[in-house]
């Protein structure tokens, strides 16, 4: 291969090559880090939630007349919801998982806040919650109907709880969570009667998102939040008429706030989605700009070397030799660029990690990025190179 003459020609006319190499270096650094962030966000959004997110929605009922009977209200509404065609299960919850609203507290193995503390995102539910959320129990049993008590907000005091496996493992690393007693602060003991395999809680940006505790209680308030799960694919049909059906049951209250869990989750992940979309756009634009830059400079170089190329053709170089010259030249420039770019990419990532606590770069991105830029460079230079190959040898004999 004629690498050496190409290299020495490059070194003699450095500026253009250095510019392209620099451009490729910065491009690599940006593209690798952007792709890394995009992948990380998509992974975050796509994490298994443990729930049947696609078929769940919430609806609120609120009484404003002062006097009303909570128990009758909930009993009547739940009966209607559970008997609606297409509905699989319905429950009453204080908040909806993935929605960004919720409560958490510290849980202990010992009374009086002794020993290690583990945070749990707690929800108040009834016996249909497990089926409504679509979570599965890996051990123990679900709440029984008779275990669900009615209590007022300031006096929530239950005996049994369901917890997620992640919560159980944190509080009971030895695996003896089922049947054990836990304490929320100085409160009364709670017995773990069942373990939920996996379930996400309220705040998608919380590190302990999968540490969930379900409490069997109806909290008596004039604001009731129903969570409903439909048969697969029937969510929108049920969701469309639920407000009207509940209102018809009793017009002396307001029924509002029908929102699918999908919608709530999408809102919670809004920032991550925006980041993924914007950075993907940045990646594509940057690649386009860099490709255009390579085409521009290669075209210029073909134009200014017309006579030289003609001479080479005249003394026996084939068209393919000319094309190869430009391909090899571009490969050399790109290689210089990606070497510098890899260093830049790692440095930039270190800065991102240190300043913004972003996750560290997965090093597989570097060879992938290099490969992509090699291919990009070759494709971009192909057009000008073929134009160079079509220069007639006779041009060598002309003066200009």
């Amino acid at each position: 291969m004629e690498i050496r003459p190409i290299l020495s020609a490059l070194l003699r006319n450095r500026t253009g090559a250095v510019l392209i190499a620099l451009q490729i270096a910065v491009t690599l650094a940006v593209v690798i880090n952007a792709a890394h962030i995009v992948k990380q966000r998509l992974d975050l959004i796509g994490r298994p939630t443990g729930m049947d997110v696609a078929n769940i929605f919430e609806v609120h009922s609120f009484d404003f007349a002062g006097e009303f009977n909570y128990r009758e209200r909930v009993r009547g509404d739940l009966e209607l919801l559970r008997n609606m065609p297409g509905v699989r299960a319905a429950t009453v919850m204080n908040q909806v998982p993935l929605s960004g609203g919720g409560s958490s507290s510290g849980y202990f193995r010992e009374p009086e806040r002794e020993g290690p503390e583990v945070a749990g995102n707690h929800f108040t539910v009834d016996e249909q919650a497990v089926d409504t959320l679509g979570v599965s129990l890996s051990a123990g049993r679900n709440f029984r109907l008779e275990e669900i008590d009615y209590m007022d907000l300031d006096n929530v005091d239950v005996d049994s709880v369901l917890v997620t496996a992640a919560f159980a493992e944190r509080l009971f690393p030895d695996g003896d969570a089922l049947g054990s007693t836990i304490y929320s602060g100085g409160g009364d003991p709670l017995t773990i009667i069942g373990i939920i395999e996996h379930m996400h809680g309220s705040w998608v940006d919380w590190e302990e998102l999968d540490q969930v505790v379900l409490l069997p209680v109806y909290v008596e308030q004039d604001f009731v939040r129903y969570v409903v799960r439909t048969e697969p694919g029937r969510r929108d049909e049920v969701l469309g008429i639920v407000e009207q059906k509940l209102s018809e049951l009793d017009r002396e209250r307001a029924v509002r706030g029908v929102r699918s869990m999908e919608e709530l989750a999408a809102e919670s992940y809004r920032g991550d989605r925006m980041m993924a979309v914007l950075l993907t756009a940045v990646i594509f634009l940057l690649i386009a700009i860099t490709a255009l830059g390579i085409v521009g400079l290669a075209s210029f170089s073909v134009k200014s070397r017309t006579k030289q190329i003609g001479t080479r053709r005249a003394i026996g170089a084939s068209r393919f030799d000319i094309v190869r010259y430009f391909l090899v030249e571009n490969w050399l420039i790109t290689t210089g660029g990606v070497i510098l770019g890899s260093v830049l990419a790692v440095a930039f990532n270190l800065w991102l990690v240190r300043t913004f606590e972003l996750p560290k770069l997965d090093f597989i991105y570097i060879p992938l990025g290099i490969l992509a830029l090699w291919i990009l460079g070759q494709l971009a230079v192909l057009g000008p190179a073929r134009r160079a190959a079509s220069i007639a040898p006779a041009i060598a004999t002309r003066t200009v």
Binding site: N33, F64, D154, G186, D222, G257, M274, T290, S299
Partner: protein
């Protein structure tokens, strides 16, 4: 002379349409990406009350758990909010020019108009001073009197949109409005008011809309059925079995702001806070080291980290993007000027100095920069429309304003000049004789 250069520049740009287009496109796309990222950042970190942001102070008292700071990540910090009892105690002081305790809640609006079904409205309970402190504009009426802050009365101030919803936009001052099962008297209706960020309460969505309804904070005591809908944090094991128990608990949920007009007043208020806490320490509360903080509204957004890291990352990536665009333009300009060697030589031979040649080409590059800036603004407009399509807070954080438009043109000019400096310098160093000979 400048006009002559301008004409030459236009001619030169026209002579090489492909290269000129590529340059304008490179700068334009760079500016478009940069301005999209910068706009969101700029609006997120904007000072929503520039006239008063150095006089308004967020008040913090460290009433947290003696065994651990409120945040392990930021152990120097005190809780962002106050307990109800401390807020009530601070309200007794008359050191501050104005002050307000406040929190976020909800009520159900029941309109007499059958056509308006009952709806859930977001409510801010605050003291009368809130409106003057944060420069809240009134369309009709005004705040309630400060006596209401002492003795609760059922009065209400409506946001413009709530007034439109319930009263069709008419002057409703003096009208009655039913919230839950109680009748309130409307005393004021606000103008459109939407500070971004919502500086007075960044705990509950710093980019959320302002509340629909404003009620006197003095009603909090009676509002056992409609409690705070905002962030509430508790650390102590207290046997809370009633609303009164909650009000007297160590849970923090009240935002507190004081207007302090001079450094002396700030010092006096700080001393007052410290004395209050020392007094409480003698009563067995506030077991942590003294850590009472007054933070001006100007610094509050930084302290509360309202701008998300993601937006900083976007801005840094966007500027690297612009760097690639500038490098690209350098290459294109080199190519362009290389082709101009004979022309430059001719002009130089005819008496143009290096300086004038340099100036002439900088005008041309400046022109490319301005064109790129305009294209970039167009692209930023599209980019921001894309950002707005994510809705939520982004629909408020993605609008160009005159400052941003100016910034876009300036950045475009600077980056095109940065791109042009080296190629122009090189072009001007061409020895005229060499090129004149070959012709």
């Amino acid at each position: 002379m400048f006009r002559y250069y301008l004409r030459l520049a236009l001619l030169s740009l026209k002579r090489n349409p492909i290269l000129s287009t590529l340059m304008v496109a490179a700068i334009g796309i760079g500016i478009g990406v940069c301005m999209t990222a910068l706009t969101v950042y700029y609006l997120m970190s904007a000072d929503p009350i520039p006239a008063k942001s150095s006089q308004l102070f967020a008040v913090q008292l460290d009433s947290w758990d003696p065994n651990q700071p409120v945040s392990e990540a930021r152990p120097e910090q005190a809780p962002w909010q106050l307990t109800y009892r401390d807020a009530m105690a601070l309200r007794e002081s008359d050191i501050a020019t104005h002050e307000t305790a406040m929190y976020y809640s909800a009520r159900i609006v029941v309109s007499e108009n059958e056509a308006v079904p009952p709806f859930l409205a977001w409510v801010r309970l605050a003291d009368a001073d809130f409106f003057s402190m944060f420069g809240v504009p009134f369309l009709y009426g005004g705040p309630w009197s400060s006596e209401v802050d002492e003795t609760a009365r059922p009065v209400v101030v409506l946001s413009k949109r709530t007034n439109e919803q319930v009263f069709g936009g008419a002057n409703s001052v003096g009208s009655d409005l039913q919230l839950d099962d109680q009748i309130y008297r409307v005393v004021g209706v606000l103008e459109e008011w939407n500070p971004i960020p919502k500086i007075y309460d960044v705990n509950n969505g710093p980019f959320n809309d302002t509340e629909d309804i404003f009620l006197p904070f003095s009603l909090a005591e009676l509002a056992s059925d409609r409690r705070s809908e905002g962030n509430t944090s508790c650390w102590k094991d207290e046997d809370i079995t009633s609303y009164t128990g909650f009000l007297n608990s160590e849970c923090v949920w009240i935002q507190y702001w004081a207007e302090l007009d001079s450094p002396a007043q700030v010092r006096e208020y700080q001393a007052f806070l410290d004395n209050y806490v020392r007094e409480q320490q003698r009563l067995g509360r506030f077991e942590r080291p003294l850590n009472n903080r007054l933070t001006s509204a100007r610094d509050w957004l930084d302290v509360r980290e309202v701008v998300r890291d993601d937006n900083r990352v976007l801005v840094s990536l966007a500027f690297m993007f612009l760097a690639v665009c500038v490098l690209n333009t350098v290459g294109l300009l080199l190519a362009k000027f290389a082709g101009k060697a004979p022309q430059i030589s001719l002009r130089r031979a005819l008496g143009a100095s290096r300086g004038t040649t340099f100036a002439q080409y900088l005008v041309e590059i400046g022109l490319v920069g301005i064109a790129g800036g305009l294209l970039g603004l167009g692209l930023a407009f599209l980019g921001l429309a894309g950002v707005r399509s994510f809705e939520g807070e982004y629909s408020k954080l993605a609008h160009l304003d005159p400052v941003l438009v100016g910034a876009a043109i300036l950045i475009a000019l600077l980056s095109s000049l940065a791109a042009g400096l080296y190629p122009t310098w090189r072009a001007c160093r061409i020895p005229p004789a060499a090129h004149l000979k070959t012709q």
